[in-house]
């Protein structure tokens, strides 16, 4: 048993490491040749790497919720899972930030980003929020792993809870503060991102726990499983609610009508974003998981892993429609006019992710997986539920 788990560890780590290395290589290729080797242009400036990065960063914040429910709200089975939650948070944060920083036009200037600040920019605040989050999670993990420090884990958990609310508000506000584009400019995006983080984080936790400890005969009582399944369903439903409010309100604004038709109905060249939104996010990413966890006979706790995987797929679909669809829709500089120019005015921008972008994004995932594998091997991250 020990040999097999060791071999699995080394194989999985080699795979994750290779993915991470490929991501680094892709980033170097993009940096030396310029972004012309990607599918991005002057219209779609944030592409697939941003989809991966934002998913990981948002999930990093949300996955810590499992620990918060344990440390802050005192639920014992969640307390057992707090260490794994902290490790996942660090791993996802690392992977997401790696992709974000390597996608910069000048990644060698991260030192400039770390020393020169414009504090009106949410990005500048994020430098502190993300690095502070990493530090707090390290401290939090330390309080849970070091025998004498367990009494500090509650205040550390509380600090982590508050910090990640601020951080996720900041992440949502990256888009919420963009007044120029009808896809974004909304104060609702900050709370929406918090709810999404809770859903995506719990989904990632369930997938990770099952992958790492699923084969062992560890008791995961069906009661706990059904509670987690229900929690996942509640978070997914709440996010869906805010997304619905966002778009229904948008439909009431005549000036946003064209964009809402673009995204929700696929009119004017938005077909693939409409498919992503409705099929990817609403059906596969929200309704189906909710059906799986809430239906009395269909699923409940047995299908919680399936529901979690679907939520993650739905997350990528929503982010694609949100980030890329929001940029593909042309800026309305002359409202009520048909426009054309040499610079793509009036046209829906086309975007096809390139191989370097896929590699970079997956490289970030590989980094996160590697950190989790190594962390779980070095430390005891397994939940030890009382029999």
């Amino acid at each position: 048993m020990q040999d097999r788990s060791a071999r699995t560890f080394w194989l999985a780590s080699a795979g994750a490491g290779a993915l991470a290395a490929a991501g680094a290589a892709a980033s170097h290729y993009m940096e030396s040749h310029g972004h012309i080797v990607t599918g991005m242009g002057n219209e779609i400036v944030w592409g697939l790497p941003h989809v991966f990065a934002i998913f990981m960063i948002v999930a990093a914040s949300g996955v810590l919720n499992v620990a918060s429910v344990g440390s802050v709200f005192g639920q014992a089975p969640y307390k057992q899972r707090a260490r794994l939650s902290g490790l996942l948070s660090l791993a996802l944060l690392g992977g997401g930030l790696m992709v974000l920083m390597l996608d910069l036009g000048r990644p060698e200037r991260v030192l400039v980003a770390a020393t020169q600040y414009n504090f009106r920019s949410v990005f500048a605040w994020n430098v502190f929020l993300y690095s502070g989050m990493a530090a707090i999670v390290v401290v939090y993990l330390w309080t849970m792993l070091q025998p004498g420090l367990v009494r500090w884990s509650q205040p550390a958990g509380l600090a982590a809870l508050v910090w990640r609310f601020v951080l996720t508000t900041g992440t949502g506000s990256i888009f919420g503060f963009v007044v120029a584009r009808p896809a974004y400019q909304s104060a609702l995006l900050a709370p929406l991102f918090i709810l999404l983080s809770l859903a995506w984080g719990l989904a990632v936790f369930i997938v990770a726990q099952k992958s790492l400890y699923g084969r062992r005969e560890l008791p995961w009582s069906s009661e706990l499983r059904s509670r987690m399944a229900r929690l996942l369903g509640i978070f997914v439903a709440a996010s869906l609610y805010l997304v619905a409010v966002l778009h229904i309100t948008g439909l009431y604004e005549a000036r946003r009508g064209a964009f809402e038709a673009f995204l929700l109905l696929g009119q004017g060249g938005g077909a693939r974003f409409a498919w992503m939104f409705w099929l990817g996010y609403v059906v596969i990413g929200s309704l189906l998981p909710m059906l799986l966890v809430f239906h009395p006979r269909l699923g409940r706790e047995r299908c919680v892993l399936g529901a979690a995987v679907l939520v993650v797929l739905g997350a990528f679909a929503w982010l694609f429609a949100f980030i890329i669809g929001g940029q593909a829709f042309p800026l309305e500089i002359f409202s009520g006019y048909a426009v054309s120019s040499s610079f793509g005015d009036g046209l829906v921008a086309s975007y096809a992710p390139s191989v370097p972008e896929w590699t970079l994004g997956l490289g970030g995932v590989g980094t996160a997986v590697l950190v989790v594998l190594v962390g779980a091997r070095l430390f005891d991250m397994a939940p030890h539920d009382p029999a």
């Binding site: 940096e31 040749h33 310029g34 972004h35 012309i36 991005m40 242009g41 002057n42 219209e43 400036v45 944030w46 910069l104 036009g105 000048r106 990644p107 200037r109 991260v110 400039v112 980003a113 020169q116 600040y117 414009n118 009106r120 920019s121 949410v122 990005f123 500048a124 994020n126 430098v127 990256i174 503060f177 963009v178 007044v179 120029a180 584009r181 940029q327 800026l331 500089i333 002359f334 009520g336 006019y337 048909a338 426009v339 054309s340 120019s341 040499s342 610079f343 793509g344 005015d345």
Partner: protein
Amino acid sequence: MNGRRKALALGVAGLAGIVIAPGVRLIEVAQAASQAGGGAGANPRVRWGMLIDTTRCKPDCDACVRACRSENGLAPSPKPTDAQWMRKVEIREIRTGRSASVPVMCQHCAMPPCVDVCPTGASFKRTDGIVLVDRHRCIGCRYCMMACPYKARSFVHEPLEGQQADVPRGKGCVEGCTMCVHRLDAGQKLTACAQACAQAGHNAIVFGDLNDPHSEIAWRVRELASRQLRQDLGLDTSVRYHGI
């Protein structure tokens, strides 16, 4: 003092010397730099602006755009990933069918969203109102491109060569119309586009100091009805348009 303490004292003194010595040299450098001279720089009393009279703008003329490209070393026939600092937008009102030709570039807002969102402060507004990108600080995050309502900024997607000496630009940074700042600082009175339009005989672009009540542009914006693009955003742009 015993031997160990002596050695420690010597080590600390040596370390202090190593740490302070470069600073001593830098004082020398700073003194030299302060005597470096140079022009007066941006004048805070000035606000550079443009008035574009679209009634004089011809749809098949792109003298302003070509002048901008050659002045700044941009690609003369840009492909989609090439930078375009200004472009002619042909507009046609859907309800009425009335069409116009509009040169659009960075509007040099007084409350620029691009400056607000830039994490390093690379996107900044000079004291004379010109919004610029400090390419020494730009990390290429493209947040300003997301935030700009006018699609004014471009990203440089590949290594560049043969830049104009007065217009440094390079891969991985974001850029946009500079109102020919290198010319204004050298004492010239007009941007390349305004010059070219005048030379083409259309005189659709008037450039000047909005704060100077005696300038031509100040007089014209008092006489001619003009508006800002996306006036609803309240950005107080320096570029105004008549006829749309």
